[in-house]
Symmetry: C2
Subunit: 235 residues, 2 copies
């Protein structure tokens, strides 16, 4: 089966969590909206009045199925790509981890858009500074501390021990993104989460991930995505 | 099986989406943290260093399983309570709807907490006013317009036609909560989403829901939850 991933063609964004899973598994897929006429097709699929039109990208076309919501796509792909156990209890657990990562992603986005996604960053900079301060003093320790404890309890190197799951790939992206957005803060914080940093290195060294990161399939970080580097927010 | 729901005992919050499903289905459950010593047990289960400790409430204990994340709990309960189809494609679709509702719930919460969940509302009032304005001009039409179109396309009265699913119960709560928080704005907006308003009435009239809403198992809305009524934000 050739999967079709639909996501904004110029940013990593939420599509990246799906790309990392497809890439690590060596799955047959196309990044559909980056192809000729792909954006048009993407917009049309969202406008559909029948079937299961997604609210927003990313969404995945798998045969006749159209699946929206990042964590839902990974719930579907996980067992098929060998990136999640097949048993229900473990599948729910990995999905729960992914949903907690998704909650954190919203808070990362809100550091530069506290007044809402519809205003420009430039129009909400003082609020962004305030929110980013709270983010690093309260929220990063809470979220990353949670994942750090889980990796420690599992014996590592991954969240569930020796077997990688798609949530590990997403945690890799979180570390990668925080390093890009907040190099100063993340560098200081890193020593508090050694297991997480080790997980990041381990994922980065996986052959398929390494090849992906070096390819032009990986869109570079930029200031339109979720992880943005605004030096004034990184003190 | 007697389910145990764990959630903050004094607010509806995210636990309410689970309560509505359990109540509509007439399931055997206890609202565990509202019982004697329940909060202690809840905090201990989150501190667990083994198993699958949840990041935050709500979580559900179902036999030996402990399941966290609201949408994940509903994914598990849905087919068991007759509130979601059993076939994979339809289960994923209902879950996708629930995840989109969850995204909207975050934005509802952020109207009064744009600078982050760790500061008091009183310390972020000007930002809250700004964010609430964007919320009503941009985000409510986008989210509620999406659900309105889906109900219309299905033929109603519910999201998927004549058969109720747990996402319908959650949409009921969204309408209920927006009416509480923003009576003025919601009253004005209601005429744009007639299908959604009809769905709300239909759910409210379901015998088990009606009995629940009249009982003391339903915690009243208050200014500690997600839906808060601050008149200054409702112009």
């Amino acid at each position: 089966m050739r999967y079709e991933l639909y996501y904004w063609p110029t940013i990593q964004g939420r599509g990246e969590y799906v790309r990392l899973a497809l890439e690590d598994a060596g799955a047959d897929y196309v990044d559909a909206a980056r192809r000729a006429n792909g954006m048009n097709r993407m917009m049309k699929m969202m406008d559909a009045s029948k079937g299961t039109p997604p609210f927003a990208p990313p969404f995945l076309k798998a045969g006749k199925l159209v699946i929206g919501q990042t964590a839902n796509i990974l719930l579907y792909l996980g067992p098929r790509l060998g990136l999640a156990p097949k048993a229900e209890a473990q599948r729910l657990w990995v999905h729960q981890l992914q949903l907690t990562i998704a909650d954190f992603v919203v808070e990362i986005h809100d550091t530069h858009h506290p007044l809402g996604p519809t205003l420009y960053y430039e129009d909400q900079r003082p609020s962004a500074k305030k929110r980013t301060g709270e983010f690093w003093s309260e929220r990063v320790p809470k979220f990353l501390g949670y994942f750090e404890r889980l990796i420690g309890a599992s014996g590592g190197p991954y969240l569930n021990g020796r077997r990688l799951c798609y949530a590990d790939l997403s945690l890799f992206q979180i570390v990668e993104g925080l390093r890009y957005s907040f190099p100063h803060n993340m560098n200081r914080f890193a020593r508090k989460v050694p297991h997480l940093i080790a997980l990041h290195e381990r994922v980065a060294a996986r052959p398929n991930i390494k090849a992906y990161l070096a390819s032009d399939r990986r869109i570079p970080f930029n200031e339109d995505g979720i992880f943005r580097h605004y030096p004034v927010l990184d003190r």
